[in-house]
């Protein structure tokens, strides 16, 4: 793998590693790692860093309401998928937006403080967009794995503490 690939792989595992720790894992110098990370950010390869939260484990009850929404659209000569996506993605309530193959066009993840907030957002802001022909909203009940990380406690390390 290239040096960039190595750094990217480590960051994708855990973006909280310091440049020093990334250097120790990849055999690069700290300065090289810093330069690669800067480049990755500047070139827009790495778009950002975020925490993966298991809201069930958060004590106070500020778990957001989330829904995945199927969107169907019609295109015309002047309007492409990207044009529509650009409009939708601007809303802060939209957490992710992907064009997909199959029965519908866009897969949209929406987040809000309550079910009514989410419903109103979809009915007031999304459904009226002229190109949107249909929305189907699925509220998320429970999350078991996000971004490759399994929720729940996982198995204990039950290996013998010392073994040959």
């Amino acid at each position: 793998m290239s040096n960039r690939g190595d750094v990217l792989a480590v960051l994708r595992d855990n973006a909280r590693f310091t440049n020093e720790d990334i250097a120790r894992q990849t055999g690069l110098s700290e300065a090289e790692v810093e330069e690669i990370v800067d480049d990755l950010e500047a070139e827009g390869v790495v778009k950002g860093y975020t925490a993966i939260v298991d809201w069930d484990a958060v004590e106070d009850d500020d778990e957001p309401i989330r829904a995945t929404v199927e969107l169907n659209v019609t295109l015309d000569r002047e309007t492409s998928y990207t044009d529509i996506a650009d409009r939708i993605a601007k809303f802060p309530e939209v957490r992710s937006l992907r064009l997909i193959s199959g029965d519908y066009d866009f897969d949209m993840l929406v987040e809000g403080d309550s079910m009514s907030e989410v419903s109103h957002f979809i009915s007031d802001k999304i459904a009226p967009i002229p190109e949107i022909t249909q929305t189907v909203t699925h509220y998320i009940m429970e999350s078991y794995k996000e971004q490759g990380i399994e929720f729940g406690d996982g198995p204990d390390d039950d290996r013998l503490s010392i073994s040959p």
Binding site: V10, D157, R159, L160, I162, P164
Partner: protein, 383 residues
């Protein structure tokens, strides 16, 4: 009449790791760098194949030598990976862990009094295994100066020319040393010249980070005198499923299977299904685990360098083998455990040649590894 251990058992001391294990078990919340097995679980699809086989009631014995479909896959796999060519009917034996294979080879191919050169430091079972089989061990201590590679020099110095067989393991537990094909050539020449059988434990063959693994059996004139041991424990994180295999000409596998059929009958059935799935579909898991180990390896080696601890660049398995900063590695390991709750294993547990070293396993997640290294550094600073 009372129970007394038989002489051949009595002359083998209990494992040197045992005492240390008992110390570590008494303590809570230790970070153990003393574990000789992967921290990953078996890839899920392999586990699921095992579960499915149980659901279908596939719980009877298999053929003595292991399921034929598995032996075929093993033969295909080692041909593709290592250029090893073995007939699944006559030359492949599925065993209960590679350890059983090693024991079978000793018991079925050694005569009482046969001399067996054992390259050390090494996995704890070879020396007792030779002794149980009635053989005589010739200690072959590899040297830190050679990065713990086996050399003709140490073979000659230790009198291995007189031996009937040689036991070696690369990539090595406990040192993490590896040997390239080029470095194996003089060893092969020595074996041919002195007519030695070679027992080559290659259980860590998939965990070689800087060069492809070469099996000594692929060198000229070696196939006919070598038994290769391998298995699923390390590559596919299946240690507790106990499944390995031995590869050798029929002249070796036939007697090994004779002992195996009377003592083990067959290797456990469920893991054989897991192993077939592992060979068919778990290449990506293997690759991912190998990448993780490699990052940890580089991390650990960097940290030792920063601490000023002398550690050769271990290139395989999941061990680093630094020189102990104190004269007495046993004492150091105990003091480190007591003061900082970090467990490492003194090299003396692995035979001769590793006395003033420590085995540091990096089969542990990076965050724990990082914490453990910080603690070792703090421990050294406080001394």
């Amino acid at each position: 009449m009372t129970f007394e251990p038989a002489d051949r058992v009595d002359q083998v001391p209990p494992s040197g790791i045992r005492k240390f294990f008992e110390l570590a078990e008494e303590m809570d919340d230790i970070i153990s760098l003393g574990v000789g097995e992967p921290d990953f679980s078996t890839p899920w699809s392999a586990r699921e194949a095992a579960i499915a086989s149980l659901e279908q009631g596939k719980t009877s014995y298999t053929a003595n030598r292991g399921k034929r479909e598995l032996r075929e896959r093993i033969a295909d796999d080692v041909r593709e990976r290592y250029d090893l060519d073995y007939d699944p009917d006559e030359e492949v034996l599925v065993t209960t862990g590679a350890s059983e294979g090693v024991d079978l080879a000793f018991r079925s191919l050694l005569n009482p009094g046969d001399k067996v050169a054992v390259a050390q430091p090494c996995y704890v079972s070879y020396v007792p295994g030779v002794t149980f089989a009635g053989g005589e061990v010739i200690d072959v201590p590899t040297r830190a100066a050679d990065d713990f590679k086996l050399t003709v020099d140490v073979l000659e110095d230790s009198g291995a020319a007189e031996a009937d067989a040689l036991v070696m393991c690369y990539p090595n537990n406990p040192t993490g040393a590896t040997m390239t094909g080029e470095e194996l050539e003089p060893i092969a020449e020595f074996a041919r010249e002195h007519d030695l059988l070679v027992f080559s434990d290659e259980i860590y063959s998939e965990l070689s980070y800087e060069h492809d693994h070469t099996s000594i059996a692929t060198l000229p004139g070696m196939r006919e005198r070598t038994v290769v041991f391998n298995g699923f424990s390390k590559a596919y994180a299946m240690t507790g499923l106990r499944l390995g295999y031995a590869l050798a000409p029929a002249d070796a596998i036939t007697p090994m299977n004779r002992v195996h059929q009377y003592t083990m009958l067959s290797a456990p059935t469920t893991p054989q299904y897991a192993a077939m799935e592992a060979l068919d579909n778990c290449e990506d898991d293997l690759k991912e685990m190998r990448e993780q180990y490699d990052r940890r390896r580089q991390f650990v080696l960097s940290r030792f360098e920063e601490m000023g601890i002398d550690c050769f660049p271990a290139k395989g398995a999941f061990y680093a083998f630094p020189e102990c900063p104190w004269d007495d590695a046993d004492e150091f390991a105990e003091a480190l455990l007591e003061a900082k709750a970090v467990a490492v294993v003194p090299g003396s547990a692995f035979g001769v040649g590793g006395d003033d070293h420590l085995r540091v396993s990096y089969a542990t997640g990076l965050s724990e590894l990082k914490e453990a290294m910080d603690r070792i550094e703090a421990f050294l600073d406080e001394q």
